[in-house]
Each structure stands twice: as structure tokens, then as C-alpha cells.
């Protein structure tokens, strides 16, 4: 009797299970093979370049272009302003001209990505019209090695630094091809994990920044703005809730610093 009821319950489970699983199997195939909505890709790009041709080089304005990663974009600012919001405010003190700003920052961009962005030539029009170009790149190149152990970290760091340096050289070449005269402001890296870093990490960061600065100085019309010193003891104050990007106050402080460094250049424009 017990065996009989066991057999029936097994049979019921098996039949019900088979039907349920068959439907799930069908769904799984549908989900992985169906065709998604075809994205219309080029439209937004052509629009922006179209806009910039309209507002093309006006002698009574200072054109500012922001390139690079999430810091360039302004990610982390709870007021959603970032450099695009604060830099013009500070620049106004030194120039009477109108400030026109474009922000092409993309979250998570690595140096290779920026290079691709430049090589696609979509931004060339914007670049050639710009008087000042602010670049922030490299943070995403180096961030993922933090979790590695000490030995692997050292090796990986070398590899990343090499590839970063060569793409940075090419980035400068691209920028200068499009516009030989603009002022390039290059932001250094800071360490958002100040509380949890050892001496070794600090050394890697300074090596990185040092090498970057060397490359930036080679250009002649570019300036390297350090950020590490400003944020080192102000992590709690200047870093956003995500623990990685600057917050509103952080962007403000950095913008202030940048505006001070290019004061004379601005008045000359």
C-alpha cells in the first residue's frame, strides 16, 4: 500500500514537473534567441555635431570641452553639476566672454576607450573649436588592480601603465591633430580608498601620476593638475556616497583649483 501511494505521488510529481519544465525550457530558448529592438545608432551623434556647427567658433566666447571618464562627466555630484556646472562659474571671474561648454565624458571610460572615441573623429569639430580642453582619464585603467595580491599587482600595474602611456601619447596626438593651439588641462588621479590603502598602493599611485605628468609636460601647451593632495585628508568631505567619485563640494574645490591655474591664460583669450 505504501509503495503504491509512493508510486502515484512520484508519477504525479513527474508529470506535473515535466509540463512545467518543458514550458520553462521553451521560455529559455525564446529569451536567448529572440531579436531585440534594432537600435538607431547614429542619430544622436549627428545631432550634436550639427549643433556645434551652428554655434561654431564665436570670437566672443570661450569654448570649453570636457573629455574622459565619470569624473569628467560629473558622476557623484548629488546636484548633478560636476565640472560642467562649476568651472564656468569660476572662469567668469577672469573673462568677460561667454563660456560655451560641451561635456563628452562617459562613465567607466578607460584610456583605450577615450582613444577610440577620438579616433572615431566624431568629436573633431568640437575639439577644433575649443579653447580649453579638460581631460580626466586613467582612473578606470588602474582601479581593478586594487583587489589583486601584492605580487600580481606589481606586474599588472606595469602592464596597465605601459598600455595607458601609449594610449595617452596617441590621445595627445589626436587632440593636437584636431587642434594644435588649445589649452589642455589634465587631471591627475586621487585615491578614494584612502582609509584602506597601504604604502604599496600609495607608491603605485604616485608612480602613475608621475608618469602621466611627464607625458603631459612634453606637450608644452598642457598642464597637469594634481588632485591627490587635495583629497587625501578630505576623503570624508569631498568623496560622494558611492565611495569613488567626488561629491558636489569635491567638484567645486577641484574647479576652483583648475580656474586658479589657468587664470592668466583665460584673461589672455
Amino acid at each position: 500500500m505504501f509503495k503504491k501511494s509512493m508510486w502515484y505521488s512520484i508519477l504525479v510529481i513527474a508529470c506535473a514537473g515535466f509540463i512545467v519544465l518543458a514550458s520553462g525550457f521553451y521560455q529559455a530558448i525564446i529569451v536567448t534567441t529572440m531579436v531585440g529592438p534594432q537600435p538607431s545608432r547614429e542619430t544622436p551623434m549627428t545631432q550634436t555635431t550639427g549643433d556645434s556647427t551652428l554655434s561654431s567658433k564665436n570670437p566672443n566666447s570661450v569654448q570649453l570641452l570636457i573629455l574622459g571618464d565619470s569624473v569628467a562627466k560629473g558622476t557623484g555630484d548629488e546636484k548633478s553639476k560636476g565640472f560642467s556646472g562649476y568651472l564656468p562659474d569660476y572662469f567668469k571671474n577672469n573673462t568677460s566672454k561667454e563660456i560655451v561648454l560641451d561635456n563628452a565624458g562617459i562613465d567607466g571610460l578607460e584610456s583605450m576607450g577615450l582613444l577610440e572615441q577620438l579616433q572615431s573623429k566624431r568629436l573633431d569639430k568640437l575639439i577644433s573649436d575649443s579653447d580649453i580642453i579638460l581631460v580626466s582619464i586613467g582612473g578606470n585603467d588602474i582601479r581593478s588592480i586594487l583587489s589583486l595580491n601584492t605580487l600580481a599587482k606589481e606586474d599588472e600595474f606595469r602592464v596597465r601603465l605601459d598600455s595607458y602611456q601609449s594610449s595617452l601619447r596617441l590621445i595627445f596626438k589626436e587632440l593636437r591633430n584636431a587642434n594644435p593651439n588649445s589649452m589642455i588641462i589634465f587631471l591627475g588621479l586621487y585615491n578614494p580608498y584612502e582609509k584602506a590603502t597601504g604604502l604599496e598602493d600609495a607608491r603605485l599611485l604616485t608612480t602613475w601620476n608621475y608618469n602621466t605628468q611627464q607625458l603631459v609636460e612634453e606637450d608644452g601647451k598642457a598642464i597637469f593638475i594634481p588632485t591627490h593632495d587635495l583629497l587625501k585628508f578630505n576623503v570624508g568631505k569631498y568623496i560622494a556616497q558611492d565611495g569613488l567619485h567626488p561629491n558636489s563640494a569635491g567638484y567645486q574645490a577641484l574647479s576652483y583649483r583648475i580656474s586658479k591655474s589657468v587664470e592668466t591664460i583665460l584673461t589672455g583669450l
Binding site: A28, V31, T32, P39, M45, I106
Partner: protein, 334 residues
């Protein structure tokens, strides 16, 4: 026919092998659930130390921030349309977490149950199935009971078919218990909820690259259902292959050994022979079907969900054919 299957199922139950499989499931699931619980707590502690936030109450602010950032990113005209759909999916997930007050760092029974099967599908589940399938026929040969079966007035193919159907039923039972046990046991650790949370799926491979343009969110219960269905498919395929081996090889130990070593070898064969295109047609390489759902696969050129399913189906059909032909034609001298 019905009686034959009933007879076979009762035989399997009385052999205690099914009980053994269930016992293994209970022990392993308990260990994994405990381990997951432990890891979750450690992650929280690390996060708190690293970022100065306590993950338990500060996650909302963090999620709010991420949500704003992602919405900004969506608006950027400099971004590819392709990335946007995956961004939308992530926004939807975060929004759900916020609306329903679910800390994304917390585990849930639903997540655990799914994860468990995703991790078992390529080795652990096949091994359980092998334990059941490998002696279905060879066991009868080695103990001599096959004579008693064959002297009955039933064609050989019906005997074999009843054995095969029994195997298919038992595979469902194993999956059913894997599901129920992991829900119950992980429910003790993490609570029983989480079945409505959205999960991203719909990844595709286009020209060797991950295409996220068709990504969409499905509720967790549907995702779990899909994972277990794929697992059942894998179980049937592995079951068919070991069923065939148990017919070809008379000794149970040998048949278990053969299929197990094949399986284990399959887990690193693609590492050594990645240049050799033919490895794609081996069934062991195609067992990780759930990776296509979660988008976590290593993109190998030419491998898609349909490809893997076709390959596996081919193996299953071939093994069943071989099994029947061999079993009907062979001389049985015990």
C-alpha cells in the same frame, strides 16, 4: 508498459540509491547555504570598513546615487545605443530594490536556489544522474537478474523503454528535490522571499561579442524555472549517455568510471584544446547552458544557446539509438 515502469521505479527506490542521492543533496545544500551566509556577512563587514558605510542601512543612499548616475548616463548623447538597454535593465533592478526595500547585498532563498543549480549544472547534477543511470542495465547484468526480466513475455525494446522512462521520471524527482531542499534549507538562513525580484537575461552572442541590446528583466521565479528546465535537459542528456554506457559495459563500476572521467575531463578539455574546433561538438563542453541565460559565458566563437542545445540533443538521440539497437541485438548469456 505502465506496470513495467512502476516495477522499475519501485526497484530503484528499494535499491536505496535515490535516498543516497537525496542525502548528498541535503548535506551539500546545507554546507553551501551556511557558507553563503558566512560570505554575505564578511562582505558586509569589508564594505563597512572600506567605504565607511554600514551596508545594512546606508545602501539606500548608495542606490539612490547610482540611480541618478545611471539616469545621467542614459541621457548622454555620446553613448552607444547598445549599452543603453543594459543600463535600463540595471536601473529597473535598482528601482525595484528601492521600491521594495530590498538590500541588494542580502541573499534570498530564490537567489540561492537559482545559483545552486547554475553552479551544479555542469558537474554536480550530472554526477548525481550518473549515480542513478549507470547501473540501470549493467546492474541487472552483473547481478544476473536480467535473465528474469527477459524471460517474461515482453519484447526487449519495451523493457528498455520502461527503464529509460523510469530514468526520465527519476531525473525530475532529483531536480524536484534539489529545488525543494534548497528552498527550505536556504530559507532557514535567508528567509523565503525574493521570487518577484527582477533578474536580467536575454544576452546574445553576436560575432563573438556579448550583445546586450535585447536584455530584459524577468521575475526571479521565471528565471529559476528556466534554469531548472535547462538543468533537466542536461540531466536527460547525461542520463541518456550514461544509460548507453551502462548497456555497452557490463560492469557497473566501469560504466560509472567511464562517464565520470569523461565529464571531469570535459571541464578542462576546452582549456587545453581551445584551438581545436572539434571540442565544440563534445557534450561536456556544452553543459553550461545556464550561462547563456545569465550572460556570464566565455564568448567562444560560434557557440550559442541553440548550438549547444542541438549538440546535446544530437548526443542524446544518438545514445538512445545505440542503446536500443545494441540491447535488442546483443546475446545475453548470463
Amino acid at each position: 508498459m505502465f506496470n513495467l515502469i512502476e516495477n522499475e521505479v519501485l526497484k530503484m527506490i528499494s535499491k536505496k540509491r535515490l535516498m543516497f542521492v537525496l542525502a548528498i543533496l541535503v548535506v551539500l545544500i546545507s554546507i553551501f547555504a551556511y557558507g553563503q551566509n558566512h560570505t554575505a556577512e564578511r562582505t558586509k563587514a569589508q564594505l563597512a570598513q572600506r567605504m565607511g558605510i554600514t551596508a545594512t542601512d546606508d545602501w539606500r543612499r548608495l542606490a539612490d546615487q547610482q540611480l541618478i548616475d545611471m539616469k545621467n548616463r542614459l541621457d548622454s548623447p555620446y553613448r552607444d545605443e547598445k549599452d543603453k538597454s543594459s543600463l535600463r535593465v540595471r536601473i529597473e533592478q535598482l528601482q525595484y530594490n528601492l521600491d521594495n526595500n530590498i538590500n541588494p547585498l542580502e541573499q534570498s532563498a530564490a537567489k540561492f536556489t537559482t545559483k545552486f543549480m547554475e553552479q551544479s549544472i555542469f558537474l554536480f547534477l550530472p554526477l548525481l544522474i550518473i549515480m542513478l543511470a549507470a547501473d540501470m542495465v549493467s546492474g541487472e547484468s552483473s547481478s544476473g537478474t536480467i535473465k528474469l526480466l527477459l524471460v517474461r513475455n515482453v519484447p526487449r525494446w519495451r523493457i528498455l523503454l520502461s527503464k529509460y522512462l523510469t530514468l526520465m521520471i527519476l531525473e525530475i524527482i532529483v531536480l524536484f528535490f534539489a529545488f525543494v531542499l534548497s528552498v527550505i534549507i536556504s530559507g532557514l538562513f535567508f528567509g523565503l522571499g525574493g521570487w518577484l525580484a527582477p533578474v536580467a537575461t536575454g544576452f546574445k552572442l553576436v560575432a563573438g561579442k556579448l550583445d546586450t541590446s535585447a536584455v530584459l528583466n524577468v521575475p526571479q521565479w521565471r528565471y529559476t524555472l528556466m534554469v531548472y528546465s535547462l538543468a533537466y535537459f542536461v540531466a536527460v542528456v547525461v542520463g541518456s549517455i550514461s544509460f548507453m554506457i551502462s548497456i555497452l559495459v557490463k560492469s557497473t563500476a566501469a560504466s560509472i568510471g567511464i562517464i565520470m572521467s569523461t565529464l571531469v575531463a570535459g571541464n578542462f578539455i576546452s582549456y587545453f584544446l581551445s584551438d581545436w574546433k572539434i571540442t565544440r561538438y563534445m557534450f561536456m563542453v556544452n553543459l553550461r547552458l545556464t550561462d547563456y541565460l545569465s550572460g556570464s559565458f566565455q564568448p567562444i566563437e560560434g557557440m550559442t544557446m541553440l548550438f549547444s542545445i542541438t549538440v546535446l540533443l544530437g548526443w542524446a538521440v544518438a545514445s538512445i539509438l545505440v542503446s536500443f539497437v545494441y540491447f535488442i541485438k546483443q546475446d545475453i548469456l548470463v
